[in-house]
């Protein structure tokens, strides 16, 4: 489904110490990121439970982006490394459930990498546009 009017809704879990600051910097730099990206601040990507990703998709998000610190740069030493492993595990479960695993993606950025973060957001929007809307969206209910 390649509807030109389709603007993917992406839930972006952003680590307070890097990606969230980076998104803030993007604002200061007057960089525009896609309007469909909804940012949720998290103390560390290692804090995120697999259920958060599952429920986001279940409730109709077209994509879920996890943005954590650069590898080796986690404020809590290795939270982002654990997050990466959990994201990979959930990608598998999503694939088994019939949802393209590309709808869930993790990236690593620093607080200074606003341009990269915005690029990643556009890239993800493009990818999700190719995949089409979340197949559960029509009947998505908030729980």
């Amino acid at each position: 489904m390649t509807d030109n009017t389709f603007e993917p809704k992406i839930v972006a879990f952003c680590c307070h110490y890097c990606a969230y600051a980076s998104a803030d910097l993007a604002g200061s730099m007057r960089l525009q990121y896609p309007a469909g990206v909804r940012i949720i601040r998290t103390p560390c990507t290692g804090r995120l439970e697999p259920e958060y990703y599952m429920r986001s998709i279940e409730n109709g998000a077209d994509g879920v982006l996890i943005a954590g610190c650069l590898e080796g740069g986690c404020h809590f030493i290795d939270g982002n490394l654990y997050a990466r492993k959990r994201v990979n595990a959930v990608r598998e479960i999503l694939e088994e459930s019939g949802i393209d695993k590309e709808r869930l993606r993790m990236v690593n950025v620093s607080a200074a990498m606003a341009t990269n973060l915005v690029e990643v957001m556009y890239e993800m929007v493009d990818n999700i546009k190719k995949l089409g809307p979340n197949p559960l969206k029509k009947e998505a209910v908030s729980q």
Partner: protein, 222 residues
């Protein structure tokens, strides 16, 4: 503890297909510790099943509940109301838990959502290893606390097979040779002499080969 792992979502979807309301029932004991069937896993698997069912258009309603222990009637009782409300139960307990629920609710389909693997320990984070084959006649006292029945691929009781290479098992090079471990351990604790004992062929009737086992303790019966 009992170690299990989840079945793949397509397999579970096929199992529960045809039901309208399914209760995903977790267990708060062994399978919680081995991260296969506790509250968190119930939540993740339920979510995956809802996604799969909606994607397939089967609209199965998935409900969630985790009880303290599935292999004990006292705890099963706490799930009674939820079980009654649903057409079927997908148990994320071990094989014993699934059967305990099924016996308690004879008119309710009860399915296993996990593959129960073995009796083992948490070796390191995310790694579980088998330690006991539940043979019913423990020989650990003679082998320095290392079980040749479980950890030797050939269950050898009278010495190594001779096929190990660089202290690794010839059947599975990822495993250490149990006999290498036994010898080293007995040497360390000064009990190498114990290896002189000759074991007769093992009587497997105390194990599962004699049919399912029952232990009766008259002193505890009422």
């Amino acid at each position: 503890m009992i170690v299990a792992q989840r079945k793949k979502i397509p397999e579970i979807t096929e199992i529960i297909n045809g039901h309208k309301n399914v209760l995903v029932l977790g267990c708060g004991t062994c399978v919680t510790v081995c991260l296969a069937g506790g509250e968190r896993e119930v939540s993740i698997i339920s979510s995956a099943l809802r996604i799969a069912s909606r994607k397939a258009g089967t609209a199965i309603k998935i409900n969630e509940l985790t009880i303290e222990r599935q292999c004990d009637n006292v705890f099963i009782e706490t799930a009674a109301e939820e079980i009654k409300k649903n057409d079927a139960v997908l148990s994320l307990g071990c094989g014993a838990g699934v059967q305990a629920i099924a016996e308690r609710y004879p008119d309710k389909p009860v399915y296993a959502g996990l593959d129960t693997a073995f009796l083992g320990i948490l070796e390191s984070r995310g790694v579980w290893t088998e330690k006991c084959a539940q043979c019913g006649a423990c020989v650990l006292a003679d082998f320095g606390g290392i079980c040749p029945v479980t950890r030797c691929a050939k269950h050898m009781l009278n010495g190594p097979c001779g096929g190990s290479r660089e202290e690794r098992c010839e059947i599975n090079a990822n495993q250490p040779c149990a006999w290498q471990l036994i010898y080293k351990r007995l040497k360390d604790i000064g009990q190498v002499d114990k290896l002189k004992k000759i074991y007769a062929p093992k009587d497997w009737s105390t194990s599962i080969d004699g049919g399912s086992r029952t232990i009766i303790r008259e002193d505890h019966r009422i």
